[in-house]
């Protein structure tokens, strides 16, 4: 099994030759579904070259790079990180809708920014270092 880290999640997936995986797993990991037009999410379809789709299998490394996102593997290739494309981050911020996040408090209770809608929210980072 291969470990795949996305910006907000992680998955265990059966892969071969890098990040070739079933279309079902590709959907789980990326949120994009394999269709005749390419890899599709909502209204967006990313066309896939003939060499990156075989039957019901997808080369997710090729797909993610085509999307514009970084793909970094560990030395032995058992852990892969798929990063958010720069343009996706910029577009989200330029829309000025504050990106939602869910993080635990010190007792482990998950808290989401979206729970605070209707209030003015001051989000401030800090660190003990």
């Amino acid at each position: 099994m291969t470990k795949i880290l996305t910006p907000t999640d992680q998955f265990e997936v059966s892969t071969r030759d890098g990040l070739w995986m079933s279309a079902a797993d590709a959907l789980r990991v990326t949120g994009f579904a394999l269709k005749p037009e390419g890899m599709c999410r909502d209204e967006i379809c990313v066309p896939m070259s003939a060499g990156s789709v075989k039957g019901a299998e997808v080369d997710v490394e090729a797909f993610w790079k085509k999307l514009g996102g970084p793909v970094i593997a560990s030395d032995v290739g058992d852990v892969w990180a798929l990063g958010a494309p720069a343009e996706e981050r910029n577009a989200a911020l330029e829309g000025l809708q504050a990106p939602d996040f869910t993080l635990p408090d010190i007792d482990g209770t998950p808290r989401s920014l979206s729970e605070l809608r209707g209030r003015k929210v001051f989000v401030a980072t800090w660190a003990s270092w």
Partner: protein, 215 residues
């Protein structure tokens, strides 16, 4: 740090979310949080997710978000100043003037938050807010990805490889003090303000370490 402001403004539809950027784990933040006795949210971000989502580069930085969930002030320095750069490194003290200047700047920032809650002042029009957003470049995006992998590797028995990913992340995004510190300093608290830190701060020259918020 924000408790007095929160206590004063909480009945006016105001909330503070403090997020600890702690790749070393929640236990490093715990004593500080317990001591602060704050009523607002104190969240732990071991993967520095907030830095990725909001393109942050140092701590403390703050984002102001209005009732509709819109960013009205993009990430900016939250109350800290560069006065520390002139401190006497042997005694770790600042001159009285610098101490006063530091306090005054912090007070001005607190006042700005208070004005925003009370009157809406300091909320930026959309175009101004957009113009102040730091741009995510492909190098920054790769740095975040290597950082994410590095944190995971460190936590799963591959410390040396994790360190290497962290260092590459810092090299790709040298403006990020946060990435540099996580790469440089895992176990030894205080090392992040050691000689290497001061050398790096001095190399800034005229550039700020904490860019002052344009209020």
């Amino acid at each position: 740090m924000w408790q007095s402001l929160y206590a004063e403004l909480k009945d006016k539809g105001f909330m503070v979310v403090a997020v600890a950027e702690e790749s070393r784990g929640a236990d490093h933040a715990r004593p500080w949080i317990e001591q602060a006795k704050s009523e607002y949210w104190q969240l732990i971000d071991t993967e520095h997710r907030l830095e990725d989502l909001y393109n942050l580069s140092n701590v403390p930085q703050a984002i102001w978000i209005d009732e509709q969930g819109r960013i009205v002030r993009p990430p900016e320095t939250a109350g800290s100043t560069d006065h520390f750069r002139r401190m006497d490194l042997k005694t770790r003290t600042m001159t009285p003037e610098d101490q006063a200047g530091r306090l005054a700047a912090r007070q001005a920032y607190f006042d700005a938050v208070r004005d925003w809650v009370n009157t809406g002042k300091h909320a930026l029009p959309a175009d101004d807010a957009r113009a102040r957003l730091p741009k995510v470049t492909p190098r920054i995006a790769e740095a975040r990805t290597r950082f994410r992998l590095g944190v995971w590797l460190r936590a799963h028995g591959s410390a040396a490889e994790g360190d290497r990913q962290m260092n590459e992340a810092s090299t790709l995004h040298p403006e990020s003090w946060s990435l540099w510190r996580q790469a440089a300093d895992l176990d030894e608290v205080g090392k992040a303000s050691g000689p290497d830190f001061w050398k790096r701060v001095q190399a800034l020259g005229e550039r700020p370490y904490y860019p002052p918020p344009k209020l």
